[in-house]
Protein backbone atom coordinates (compact mmCIF):
# COMPACT_ATOMS: atom_id res chain seq x y z
CA UNK A 1 0.00 0.00 0.00
CA UNK A 2 1.72 3.17 -1.18
CA UNK A 3 0.80 6.28 0.75
CA UNK A 4 1.72 9.83 -0.19
CA UNK A 5 1.30 13.35 1.07
CA UNK A 6 0.42 15.54 -1.87
CA UNK A 7 0.60 19.32 -2.02
CA UNK A 8 0.53 22.04 -4.65
CA UNK A 9 2.71 25.13 -5.07
CA UNK A 10 1.78 27.01 -8.21
CA UNK A 11 2.11 30.68 -9.05
CA UNK A 12 3.75 33.11 -6.67
CA UNK A 13 7.01 32.16 -4.89
CA UNK A 14 5.27 32.57 -1.53
CA UNK A 15 3.38 29.34 -2.23
CA UNK A 16 6.68 27.53 -2.64
CA UNK A 17 7.87 28.99 0.68
CA UNK A 18 4.69 27.70 2.30
CA UNK A 19 4.99 24.25 0.71
CA UNK A 20 8.62 24.00 1.82
CA UNK A 21 7.45 24.83 5.34
CA UNK A 22 4.90 22.02 5.13
CA UNK A 23 7.50 19.52 3.91
CA UNK A 24 10.05 20.61 6.50
CA UNK A 25 7.52 20.38 9.33
CA UNK A 26 6.74 16.80 8.30
CA UNK A 27 10.42 15.96 8.14
CA UNK A 28 11.08 17.55 11.52
CA UNK A 29 8.57 15.35 13.32
CA UNK A 30 9.90 12.22 11.62
CA UNK A 31 6.87 11.48 9.46
CA UNK A 32 7.93 8.92 6.86
CA UNK A 33 5.11 9.30 4.35
CA UNK A 34 6.37 9.85 0.79
CA UNK A 35 6.04 13.59 0.09
CA UNK A 36 5.04 14.82 -3.38
CA UNK A 37 4.72 18.41 -4.61
CA UNK A 38 3.03 19.57 -7.80
CA UNK A 39 4.63 22.83 -8.84
CA UNK A 40 5.64 25.23 -11.59
CA UNK A 41 8.24 26.81 -9.29
CA UNK A 42 11.13 24.59 -10.18
CA UNK A 43 13.92 26.78 -8.85
CA UNK A 44 13.34 25.89 -5.20
CA UNK A 45 15.17 23.48 -2.85
CA UNK A 46 12.42 20.86 -3.05
CA UNK A 47 14.85 18.01 -2.46
CA UNK A 48 15.28 19.28 1.12
CA UNK A 49 11.99 17.85 2.18
CA UNK A 50 10.09 16.38 -0.79
CA UNK A 51 10.65 12.94 -2.28
CA UNK A 52 9.04 13.72 -5.61
CA UNK A 53 8.46 16.88 -7.63
CA UNK A 54 5.84 16.84 -10.39
CA UNK A 55 6.00 19.73 -12.87
CA UNK A 56 2.75 21.60 -13.28
CA UNK A 57 1.29 22.92 -16.51
CA UNK A 58 -2.38 23.66 -16.75
CA UNK A 59 -5.14 26.20 -16.59
CA UNK A 60 -4.83 28.16 -13.34
CA UNK A 61 -8.60 28.59 -13.32
CA UNK A 62 -8.89 24.93 -12.28
CA UNK A 63 -6.02 24.95 -9.79
CA UNK A 64 -8.20 23.92 -6.83
CA UNK A 65 -9.22 20.76 -8.68
CA UNK A 66 -5.58 19.73 -9.09
CA UNK A 67 -5.63 18.41 -5.52
CA UNK A 68 -7.72 15.50 -6.82
CA UNK A 69 -5.28 14.51 -9.59
CA UNK A 70 -2.76 12.47 -7.60
CA UNK A 71 -4.29 9.17 -8.77
CA UNK A 72 -3.35 10.11 -12.34
CA UNK A 73 -0.05 11.77 -11.53
CA UNK A 74 1.37 9.14 -9.17
CA UNK A 75 1.11 5.41 -8.49
CA UNK A 76 -0.02 5.95 -4.90
CA UNK A 77 -2.89 3.93 -3.42
CA UNK A 78 -3.73 6.37 -0.64
CA UNK A 79 -3.33 10.12 -0.94
CA UNK A 80 -3.50 12.76 1.71
CA UNK A 81 -3.73 16.15 0.09
CA UNK A 82 -2.57 18.93 2.41
CA UNK A 83 -2.73 22.60 1.47
CA UNK A 84 0.73 24.10 1.13
CA UNK A 85 0.03 26.74 3.79
CA UNK A 86 -0.13 24.09 6.48
CA UNK A 87 2.27 22.94 9.18
CA UNK A 88 2.14 19.43 10.61
CA UNK A 89 2.71 18.83 14.33
CA UNK A 90 1.93 15.12 14.73
CA UNK A 91 2.68 12.16 12.50
CA UNK A 92 0.01 11.38 9.95
CA UNK A 93 -0.61 7.68 10.62
CA UNK A 94 -3.92 8.25 12.49
CA UNK A 95 -5.34 10.09 9.45
CA UNK A 96 -4.35 7.34 7.03
CA UNK A 97 -5.69 4.71 9.41
CA UNK A 98 -8.99 6.56 9.82
CA UNK A 99 -9.39 6.86 6.05
CA UNK A 100 -8.23 3.40 5.08
CA UNK A 101 -10.98 1.57 3.18
CA UNK A 102 -13.34 4.55 3.19
CA UNK A 103 -12.42 5.86 -0.26
CA UNK A 104 -12.79 9.60 0.21
CA UNK A 105 -12.75 11.56 3.46
CA UNK A 106 -12.74 15.17 4.53
CA UNK A 107 -13.25 16.79 7.92
CA UNK A 108 -16.50 18.68 8.18
CA UNK A 109 -20.25 18.41 8.63
CA UNK A 110 -23.51 18.22 6.68
CA UNK A 111 -25.33 21.52 6.31
CA UNK A 112 -28.75 22.29 4.87
CA UNK A 113 -28.97 26.03 5.45
CA UNK A 114 -26.82 29.13 5.81
CA UNK A 115 -24.41 30.71 3.41
CA UNK A 116 -21.51 28.75 1.99
CA UNK A 117 -20.55 29.64 -1.57
CA UNK A 118 -24.15 30.82 -1.93
CA UNK A 119 -27.47 29.93 -0.33
CA UNK A 120 -27.15 26.34 0.89
CA UNK A 121 -30.92 25.77 1.29
CA UNK A 122 -31.47 26.89 -2.28
CA UNK A 123 -28.72 24.59 -3.57
CA UNK A 124 -30.22 21.67 -1.66
CA UNK A 125 -33.68 22.40 -3.03
CA UNK A 126 -32.63 22.78 -6.67
CA UNK A 127 -30.39 19.71 -6.56
CA UNK A 128 -32.83 17.59 -4.57
CA UNK A 129 -30.50 16.73 -1.70
CA UNK A 130 -31.10 17.02 2.04
CA UNK A 131 -27.74 18.53 2.87
CA UNK A 132 -24.31 19.14 1.42
CA UNK A 133 -20.92 18.50 2.96
CA UNK A 134 -19.23 21.59 4.36
CA UNK A 135 -15.54 21.22 5.01
CA UNK A 136 -12.17 22.90 4.60
CA UNK A 137 -10.48 21.69 1.42
CA UNK A 138 -7.05 22.09 2.99
CA UNK A 139 -6.97 18.40 3.80
CA UNK A 140 -8.49 15.63 1.68
CA UNK A 141 -7.91 11.90 1.93
CA UNK A 142 -8.63 9.62 -1.02
CA UNK A 143 -7.83 6.14 -2.24
CA UNK A 144 -7.41 4.42 -5.58
CA UNK A 145 -10.78 2.83 -6.41
CA UNK A 146 -13.51 2.89 -9.03
CA UNK A 147 -15.91 4.59 -6.60
CA UNK A 148 -13.45 7.41 -6.07
CA UNK A 149 -13.00 7.78 -9.85
CA UNK A 150 -16.79 8.06 -10.22
CA UNK A 151 -16.93 10.62 -7.43
CA UNK A 152 -14.20 12.67 -9.12
CA UNK A 153 -16.07 12.53 -12.43
CA UNK A 154 -19.11 13.94 -10.63
CA UNK A 155 -17.00 16.66 -9.00
CA UNK A 156 -15.60 17.60 -12.43
CA UNK A 157 -19.08 17.76 -13.88
CA UNK A 158 -20.25 20.05 -11.06
CA UNK A 159 -17.11 22.15 -11.48
CA UNK A 160 -18.05 22.86 -15.08
CA UNK A 161 -21.50 23.99 -13.89
CA UNK A 162 -20.13 25.98 -10.94
CA UNK A 163 -21.25 29.32 -12.31
CA UNK A 164 -24.79 28.10 -13.01
CA UNK A 165 -24.91 26.54 -9.55
CA UNK A 166 -23.94 29.88 -8.02
CA UNK A 167 -20.62 28.58 -6.64
CA UNK A 168 -18.38 31.61 -7.05
CA UNK A 169 -15.29 33.15 -5.54
CA UNK A 170 -14.07 36.72 -5.62
CA UNK A 171 -11.42 35.66 -8.14
CA UNK A 172 -11.86 33.80 -11.46
CA UNK A 173 -10.83 30.45 -9.95
CA UNK A 174 -13.41 27.68 -9.82
CA UNK A 175 -14.01 26.67 -6.19
CA UNK A 176 -13.60 22.98 -5.40
CA UNK A 177 -15.19 22.81 -1.95
CA UNK A 178 -18.89 23.32 -2.86
CA UNK A 179 -18.53 21.00 -5.87
CA UNK A 180 -17.06 18.28 -3.66
CA UNK A 181 -19.62 18.93 -0.92
CA UNK A 182 -22.48 18.59 -3.39
CA UNK A 183 -20.95 15.57 -5.13
CA UNK A 184 -20.72 13.79 -1.76
CA UNK A 185 -24.43 14.43 -1.24
CA UNK A 186 -25.49 13.41 -4.74
CA UNK A 187 -23.39 10.22 -4.92
CA UNK A 188 -23.79 9.21 -1.29
CA UNK A 189 -20.15 8.23 -1.41
CA UNK A 190 -17.41 9.48 0.93
CA UNK A 191 -17.07 10.20 4.62
CA UNK A 192 -17.16 13.38 6.63
CA UNK A 193 -14.91 13.09 9.66
CA UNK A 194 -16.26 15.03 12.62
CA UNK A 195 -14.54 18.29 13.43
CA UNK A 196 -13.42 17.00 16.82
CA UNK A 197 -11.05 14.49 15.22
CA UNK A 198 -8.74 17.53 15.02
CA UNK A 199 -6.94 16.10 12.04
CA UNK A 200 -6.84 19.63 10.72
CA UNK A 201 -7.77 23.03 12.07
CA UNK A 202 -7.28 26.53 10.69
CA UNK A 203 -7.80 28.34 14.04
CA UNK A 204 -10.79 30.18 12.63
CA UNK A 205 -12.59 31.83 15.55
CA UNK A 206 -9.44 32.03 17.65
CA UNK A 207 -9.88 33.10 21.26
CA UNK A 208 -6.77 34.47 22.94
CA UNK A 209 -3.35 33.33 21.87
CA UNK A 210 -2.36 31.04 19.05
CA UNK A 211 0.42 28.89 20.46
CA UNK A 212 2.55 27.91 17.53
CA UNK A 213 6.17 26.82 17.86
CA UNK A 214 7.79 24.24 15.59
CA UNK A 215 10.88 24.07 17.82
CA UNK A 216 8.72 22.86 20.71
CA UNK A 217 6.33 20.91 18.50
CA UNK A 218 3.58 23.03 19.94
CA UNK A 219 0.32 24.02 18.31
CA UNK A 220 -2.65 24.62 20.58
CA UNK A 221 -5.41 27.18 20.88
CA UNK A 222 -8.97 27.89 21.90
CA UNK A 223 -11.39 28.67 19.12
CA UNK A 224 -15.05 29.23 18.48
CA UNK A 225 -16.22 27.19 15.54
CA UNK A 226 -19.08 24.73 16.00
CA UNK A 227 -18.56 25.31 19.72
CA UNK A 228 -15.83 26.78 21.89
CA UNK A 229 -13.13 24.15 22.12
CA UNK A 230 -9.45 23.70 22.89
CA UNK A 231 -7.66 22.26 19.85
CA UNK A 232 -4.27 20.63 19.30
CA UNK A 233 -4.51 19.68 15.62
CA UNK A 234 -2.37 17.21 13.73
CA UNK A 235 -2.29 19.68 10.83
CA UNK A 236 -2.43 23.40 11.36
CA UNK A 237 -3.82 24.97 8.19
CA UNK A 238 -2.54 28.54 8.32
CA UNK A 239 -5.20 29.83 5.93
CA UNK A 240 -5.77 33.39 7.17
CA UNK A 241 -2.69 33.12 9.43
CA UNK A 242 -0.58 33.34 6.31
CA UNK A 243 -0.99 37.07 6.92
CA UNK A 244 0.32 36.81 10.48
CA UNK A 245 3.96 37.05 11.52
CA UNK A 246 3.76 33.97 13.75
CA UNK A 247 3.29 31.67 10.75
CA UNK A 248 6.21 33.17 8.82
CA UNK A 249 8.36 32.93 11.92
CA UNK A 250 7.78 29.17 11.87
CA UNK A 251 8.72 29.02 8.19
CA UNK A 252 11.95 30.89 8.99
CA UNK A 253 12.75 28.53 11.85
CA UNK A 254 12.15 25.49 9.67
CA UNK A 255 14.36 26.95 6.96
CA UNK A 256 17.07 27.65 9.52
CA UNK A 257 16.90 24.08 10.82
CA UNK A 258 17.16 22.78 7.28
CA UNK A 259 20.31 24.86 6.70
CA UNK A 260 21.68 23.73 10.07
CA UNK A 261 21.28 20.08 9.11
CA UNK A 262 23.23 20.71 5.91
CA UNK A 263 26.10 22.48 7.69
CA UNK A 264 26.49 20.21 10.70
CA UNK A 265 27.11 16.50 10.96
CA UNK A 266 25.65 13.79 13.23
CA UNK A 267 25.68 14.81 16.88
CA UNK A 268 27.35 18.20 16.38
CA UNK A 269 27.92 20.05 19.64
CA UNK A 270 28.44 23.80 19.46
CA UNK A 271 31.41 25.43 21.24
CA UNK A 272 28.93 27.18 23.55
CA UNK A 273 27.35 23.86 24.45
CA UNK A 274 30.77 22.35 25.10
CA UNK A 275 31.68 25.25 27.34
CA UNK A 276 28.42 24.80 29.23
CA UNK A 277 29.19 21.12 29.71
CA UNK A 278 32.64 21.98 30.99
CA UNK A 279 31.24 24.44 33.55
CA UNK A 280 28.43 22.12 34.63
CA UNK A 281 30.85 19.21 35.00
CA UNK A 282 32.87 21.25 37.47
CA UNK A 283 29.78 22.41 39.36
CA UNK A 284 28.50 18.84 39.63
CA UNK A 285 31.89 17.64 40.86
CA UNK A 286 32.32 20.34 43.51
CA UNK A 287 28.81 20.99 44.79
CA UNK A 288 26.27 18.43 43.82
CA UNK A 289 28.17 15.17 43.90
CA UNK A 290 30.21 15.13 47.07
Amino acid sequence: MKRIVFTIAVGKPKFAECALGLGRSLKLIGDTTHRVVLTDLTDMPWADCFDEVIPYTGDIKWIFFEKLTALDRTDADQILFIDSDSLVFKRLDPIFEAGSGKGFCVQGEWISSGDWYGDVAETCRTRGVEAIGQFNGGMIFYERSEEVRSLFAKIDELGRQAKELGFQRDDPLVPDEPCIGLALAETGFGTLWPDNTDFQNSATGLIGKLELDVMRNRCGFLCRRYGVRYVEPIIFHASRYINFLIYWKQLDRLKWLSEYAKKHGFGYMSPGHKLKRSIHKRLIKWWIRP
Binding site: L28, M215, N217, G267, H280, I288
Partner: protein, 290 residues
Protein backbone atom coordinates in the same frame (compact mmCIF):
# COMPACT_ATOMS: atom_id res chain seq x y z
CA UNK B 1 4.30 -12.85 30.52
CA UNK B 2 6.55 -12.09 33.46
CA UNK B 3 8.35 -8.89 32.51
CA UNK B 4 11.10 -7.00 34.27
CA UNK B 5 12.87 -3.76 33.57
CA UNK B 6 16.37 -3.80 34.99
CA UNK B 7 19.47 -1.70 35.27
CA UNK B 8 23.05 -2.08 36.45
CA UNK B 9 24.93 0.03 39.00
CA UNK B 10 28.50 -0.99 39.66
CA UNK B 11 31.42 0.85 41.25
CA UNK B 12 31.27 4.56 42.07
CA UNK B 13 28.33 5.87 44.18
CA UNK B 14 27.25 8.15 41.32
CA UNK B 15 26.01 5.08 39.43
CA UNK B 16 23.69 4.28 42.31
CA UNK B 17 22.35 7.85 42.14
CA UNK B 18 21.76 7.45 38.42
CA UNK B 19 19.98 4.13 38.89
CA UNK B 20 17.82 5.53 41.68
CA UNK B 21 16.84 8.36 39.35
CA UNK B 22 15.81 5.84 36.72
CA UNK B 23 13.76 3.75 39.16
CA UNK B 24 12.13 6.82 40.67
CA UNK B 25 11.25 8.26 37.27
CA UNK B 26 9.53 5.00 36.31
CA UNK B 27 7.64 4.98 39.59
CA UNK B 28 6.66 8.63 39.22
CA UNK B 29 4.93 8.08 35.88
CA UNK B 30 3.10 5.04 37.22
CA UNK B 31 4.84 2.43 35.13
CA UNK B 32 3.90 -0.87 36.69
CA UNK B 33 6.65 -3.09 35.28
CA UNK B 34 8.69 -4.91 37.92
CA UNK B 35 11.89 -2.93 38.48
CA UNK B 36 15.16 -4.61 39.35
CA UNK B 37 18.61 -3.18 40.02
CA UNK B 38 21.69 -5.37 39.76
CA UNK B 39 24.48 -3.81 41.78
CA UNK B 40 27.49 -4.13 44.05
CA UNK B 41 26.65 -0.89 45.86
CA UNK B 42 25.02 -1.54 49.22
CA UNK B 43 22.43 1.10 50.15
CA UNK B 44 19.29 1.03 52.23
CA UNK B 45 17.28 3.29 49.91
CA UNK B 46 17.01 1.11 46.79
CA UNK B 47 13.38 0.56 47.63
CA UNK B 48 10.79 1.80 46.77
CA UNK B 49 12.46 2.90 43.51
CA UNK B 50 13.16 -0.78 42.80
CA UNK B 51 11.09 -3.82 43.63
CA UNK B 52 14.12 -6.06 43.81
CA UNK B 53 17.82 -5.56 44.43
CA UNK B 54 20.27 -8.19 43.26
CA UNK B 55 23.69 -7.87 44.84
CA UNK B 56 26.49 -9.36 42.76
CA UNK B 57 30.22 -8.63 42.61
CA UNK B 58 31.29 -6.18 39.92
CA UNK B 59 31.68 -8.17 36.68
CA UNK B 60 34.95 -8.22 34.80
CA UNK B 61 33.34 -6.48 31.80
CA UNK B 62 30.40 -4.40 33.10
CA UNK B 63 29.21 -3.55 29.57
CA UNK B 64 28.26 -7.17 28.93
CA UNK B 65 26.47 -7.72 32.24
CA UNK B 66 23.30 -6.38 30.60
CA UNK B 67 23.02 -9.68 28.70
CA UNK B 68 22.95 -11.78 31.87
CA UNK B 69 19.52 -10.79 33.18
CA UNK B 70 18.31 -14.35 33.60
CA UNK B 71 21.36 -15.26 35.65
CA UNK B 72 20.28 -12.55 38.08
CA UNK B 73 16.50 -12.97 38.25
CA UNK B 74 13.56 -14.91 36.84
CA UNK B 75 11.51 -13.39 34.04
CA UNK B 76 10.14 -14.23 30.60
CA UNK B 77 11.30 -10.95 29.11
CA UNK B 78 13.70 -8.27 30.26
CA UNK B 79 14.18 -4.68 29.22
CA UNK B 80 17.59 -3.32 30.07
CA UNK B 81 17.78 0.46 30.53
CA UNK B 82 21.08 2.18 31.26
CA UNK B 83 21.25 3.62 34.76
CA UNK B 84 21.86 7.17 33.53
CA UNK B 85 18.39 7.31 32.00
CA UNK B 86 15.11 8.89 32.98
CA UNK B 87 11.76 7.62 31.76
CA UNK B 88 9.04 10.07 30.79
CA UNK B 89 6.39 7.84 29.24
CA UNK B 90 5.15 4.40 30.29
CA UNK B 91 6.97 1.53 28.66
CA UNK B 92 3.99 -0.47 27.31
CA UNK B 93 4.52 0.45 23.62
CA UNK B 94 8.12 -0.77 23.85
CA UNK B 95 7.06 -4.13 25.31
CA UNK B 96 4.38 -4.40 22.64
CA UNK B 97 6.78 -3.60 19.79
CA UNK B 98 9.36 -6.16 20.87
CA UNK B 99 7.02 -8.93 22.10
CA UNK B 100 7.96 -12.26 20.58
CA UNK B 101 11.38 -11.04 19.45
CA UNK B 102 14.47 -12.70 20.86
CA UNK B 103 16.28 -9.36 20.94
CA UNK B 104 15.13 -5.78 20.38
CA UNK B 105 17.07 -2.54 19.93
CA UNK B 106 16.48 0.84 18.29
CA UNK B 107 18.76 2.13 15.57
CA UNK B 108 19.54 2.05 11.87
CA UNK B 109 21.55 0.18 9.25
CA UNK B 110 25.17 0.97 8.44
CA UNK B 111 27.41 -0.31 5.70
CA UNK B 112 30.62 0.47 3.83
CA UNK B 113 31.90 3.98 4.40
CA UNK B 114 30.26 4.44 7.80
CA UNK B 115 32.07 4.89 11.11
CA UNK B 116 31.07 3.23 14.38
CA UNK B 117 33.67 2.06 16.85
CA UNK B 118 36.04 2.16 13.90
CA UNK B 119 35.81 1.82 10.15
CA UNK B 120 32.75 -0.25 9.21
CA UNK B 121 34.22 -1.19 5.84
CA UNK B 122 37.01 -2.88 7.71
CA UNK B 123 34.54 -4.73 9.97
CA UNK B 124 32.39 -5.86 7.04
CA UNK B 125 35.45 -7.10 5.17
CA UNK B 126 36.64 -9.07 8.19
CA UNK B 127 33.29 -10.53 9.16
CA UNK B 128 31.77 -11.04 5.71
CA UNK B 129 28.51 -9.23 6.48
CA UNK B 130 27.08 -6.75 3.99
CA UNK B 131 25.62 -4.43 6.63
CA UNK B 132 25.10 -4.09 10.36
CA UNK B 133 22.71 -2.40 12.75
CA UNK B 134 23.99 0.61 14.68
CA UNK B 135 22.23 1.36 17.93
CA UNK B 136 22.75 2.68 21.41
CA UNK B 137 23.06 -0.12 23.96
CA UNK B 138 21.27 1.96 26.58
CA UNK B 139 18.03 0.14 25.79
CA UNK B 140 18.01 -3.58 24.99
CA UNK B 141 15.08 -5.99 25.09
CA UNK B 142 15.42 -9.75 25.20
CA UNK B 143 13.43 -12.78 26.09
CA UNK B 144 14.12 -15.91 28.06
CA UNK B 145 14.01 -18.20 25.02
CA UNK B 146 16.19 -20.57 23.04
CA UNK B 147 16.44 -18.04 20.20
CA UNK B 148 17.58 -15.31 22.56
CA UNK B 149 20.21 -17.61 24.02
CA UNK B 150 21.39 -18.31 20.48
CA UNK B 151 21.95 -14.59 19.91
CA UNK B 152 23.53 -14.06 23.32
CA UNK B 153 25.89 -17.02 22.77
CA UNK B 154 27.02 -15.27 19.61
CA UNK B 155 27.51 -12.04 21.55
CA UNK B 156 29.82 -13.94 23.89
CA UNK B 157 31.60 -15.49 20.92
CA UNK B 158 32.30 -12.05 19.43
CA UNK B 159 33.37 -10.71 22.82
CA UNK B 160 36.03 -13.37 23.05
CA UNK B 161 37.12 -13.01 19.43
CA UNK B 162 36.79 -9.22 19.37
CA UNK B 163 40.22 -8.55 17.93
CA UNK B 164 39.19 -10.45 14.81
CA UNK B 165 36.10 -8.34 14.13
CA UNK B 166 37.76 -5.11 13.01
CA UNK B 167 35.95 -3.07 15.66
CA UNK B 168 37.90 -0.89 18.11
CA UNK B 169 37.71 -1.37 21.89
CA UNK B 170 35.88 1.30 23.93
CA UNK B 171 37.57 2.73 27.03
CA UNK B 172 39.76 -0.35 27.24
CA UNK B 173 36.82 -2.77 27.17
CA UNK B 174 35.01 -4.78 24.54
CA UNK B 175 31.77 -2.85 23.97
CA UNK B 176 28.47 -4.66 24.11
CA UNK B 177 26.81 -2.84 21.20
CA UNK B 178 29.21 -3.99 18.51
CA UNK B 179 29.14 -7.61 19.68
CA UNK B 180 25.34 -7.60 19.74
CA UNK B 181 25.21 -6.02 16.30
CA UNK B 182 27.45 -8.78 14.92
CA UNK B 183 25.40 -11.45 16.73
CA UNK B 184 22.17 -10.15 15.19
CA UNK B 185 23.79 -10.16 11.74
CA UNK B 186 25.17 -13.68 12.29
CA UNK B 187 21.95 -15.28 13.57
CA UNK B 188 19.49 -13.21 11.55
CA UNK B 189 17.42 -12.97 14.74
CA UNK B 190 16.17 -9.90 16.53
CA UNK B 191 14.50 -6.64 15.68
CA UNK B 192 16.06 -3.22 15.24
CA UNK B 193 13.18 -0.71 15.29
CA UNK B 194 13.71 2.62 13.51
CA UNK B 195 15.19 5.49 15.46
CA UNK B 196 12.02 7.44 14.73
CA UNK B 197 10.10 5.36 17.26
CA UNK B 198 11.76 7.53 19.91
CA UNK B 199 11.78 4.78 22.50
CA UNK B 200 15.13 6.17 23.58
CA UNK B 201 17.18 9.22 22.72
CA UNK B 202 20.37 10.67 24.17
CA UNK B 203 19.94 14.26 23.04
CA UNK B 204 23.18 14.00 21.07
CA UNK B 205 23.34 16.79 18.48
CA UNK B 206 21.03 19.01 20.53
CA UNK B 207 19.88 22.26 18.93
CA UNK B 208 18.56 24.90 21.31
CA UNK B 209 17.00 23.96 24.63
CA UNK B 210 16.83 20.56 26.23
CA UNK B 211 13.41 20.82 27.84
CA UNK B 212 13.45 18.38 30.72
CA UNK B 213 11.19 18.59 33.72
CA UNK B 214 10.41 15.49 35.69
CA UNK B 215 7.48 17.12 37.49
CA UNK B 216 5.78 17.86 34.20
CA UNK B 217 6.82 14.52 32.67
CA UNK B 218 8.32 16.67 29.96
CA UNK B 219 11.34 15.82 27.85
CA UNK B 220 11.63 17.18 24.34
CA UNK B 221 14.18 18.75 22.08
CA UNK B 222 15.35 19.24 18.51
CA UNK B 223 18.54 17.40 17.62
CA UNK B 224 20.76 16.71 14.65
CA UNK B 225 21.65 13.03 14.45
CA UNK B 226 21.21 11.06 11.22
CA UNK B 227 18.58 13.64 10.44
CA UNK B 228 17.42 16.79 12.12
CA UNK B 229 14.30 16.07 14.09
CA UNK B 230 12.05 17.01 16.98
CA UNK B 231 12.13 14.26 19.60
CA UNK B 232 9.97 13.42 22.62
CA UNK B 233 11.51 10.16 23.85
CA UNK B 234 10.07 7.56 26.20
CA UNK B 235 13.49 7.07 27.74
CA UNK B 236 15.97 9.91 27.93
CA UNK B 237 19.42 8.36 28.14
CA UNK B 238 21.44 11.15 29.75
CA UNK B 239 24.76 9.86 28.44
CA UNK B 240 26.75 13.09 27.97
CA UNK B 241 24.05 15.04 29.82
CA UNK B 242 25.13 13.33 33.02
CA UNK B 243 27.64 16.20 32.97
CA UNK B 244 24.94 18.85 32.77
CA UNK B 245 23.12 20.40 35.70
CA UNK B 246 19.71 19.89 34.10
CA UNK B 247 20.04 16.12 34.55
CA UNK B 248 21.22 16.37 38.15
CA UNK B 249 18.36 18.75 38.91
CA UNK B 250 15.95 16.02 37.87
CA UNK B 251 17.73 13.48 40.08
CA UNK B 252 17.49 15.88 43.02
CA UNK B 253 13.83 16.54 42.29
CA UNK B 254 13.07 12.82 42.20
CA UNK B 255 14.87 12.34 45.50
CA UNK B 256 12.85 15.16 47.04
CA UNK B 257 9.57 13.70 45.78
CA UNK B 258 10.41 10.33 47.30
CA UNK B 259 11.21 12.01 50.63
CA UNK B 260 7.90 13.92 50.37
CA UNK B 261 6.02 10.69 49.87
CA UNK B 262 7.57 9.21 53.00
CA UNK B 263 6.83 12.29 55.07
CA UNK B 264 3.23 12.86 54.02
CA UNK B 265 0.17 10.58 54.03
CA UNK B 266 -2.42 10.07 51.28
CA UNK B 267 -3.95 13.33 50.05
CA UNK B 268 -2.00 15.60 52.40
CA UNK B 269 -2.66 19.29 51.87
CA UNK B 270 -0.02 21.82 52.88
CA UNK B 271 -0.89 24.72 55.23
CA UNK B 272 -0.17 27.11 52.34
CA UNK B 273 -2.60 25.23 50.12
CA UNK B 274 -5.22 25.26 52.89
CA UNK B 275 -4.74 28.99 53.38
CA UNK B 276 -5.20 29.53 49.66
CA UNK B 277 -8.38 27.46 49.71
CA UNK B 278 -9.65 29.52 52.61
CA UNK B 279 -8.98 32.82 50.85
CA UNK B 280 -10.41 31.67 47.55
CA UNK B 281 -13.48 30.27 49.30
CA UNK B 282 -14.14 33.72 50.76
CA UNK B 283 -13.69 35.35 47.36
CA UNK B 284 -16.10 32.88 45.75
CA UNK B 285 -18.62 33.40 48.58
CA UNK B 286 -18.40 37.16 48.23
CA UNK B 287 -19.18 36.72 44.55
CA UNK B 288 -22.19 34.59 45.47
CA UNK B 289 -20.84 31.67 43.50
CA UNK B 290 -20.75 29.15 46.37
Amino acid sequence: MNRAVFTLAFGAPKYAKFALGLGRSLRLIGDSTRRIVVTDIRRDDWQPAFDEVVYVPRPENPYHAKFRAFDYFDADAALFIDADSLVFRRLDPIWKAFAGQPIGVQGWTISHGDEWHGDISNVLNQTGFSQLHQFNGGLVYYENSAESRQVLDQVEHYRQAYDQTGFNPFRGHVPDETCLSLAIAKTGLGLCVPDRRDYMNTGVGLIGDLRMNIRRAECSFVCRRRELRFVRPYVFHAHLYSQFLVYWKQLKELEKLEAYEKAHPFGWMSPGHKLRRSIERRILKSQGRI
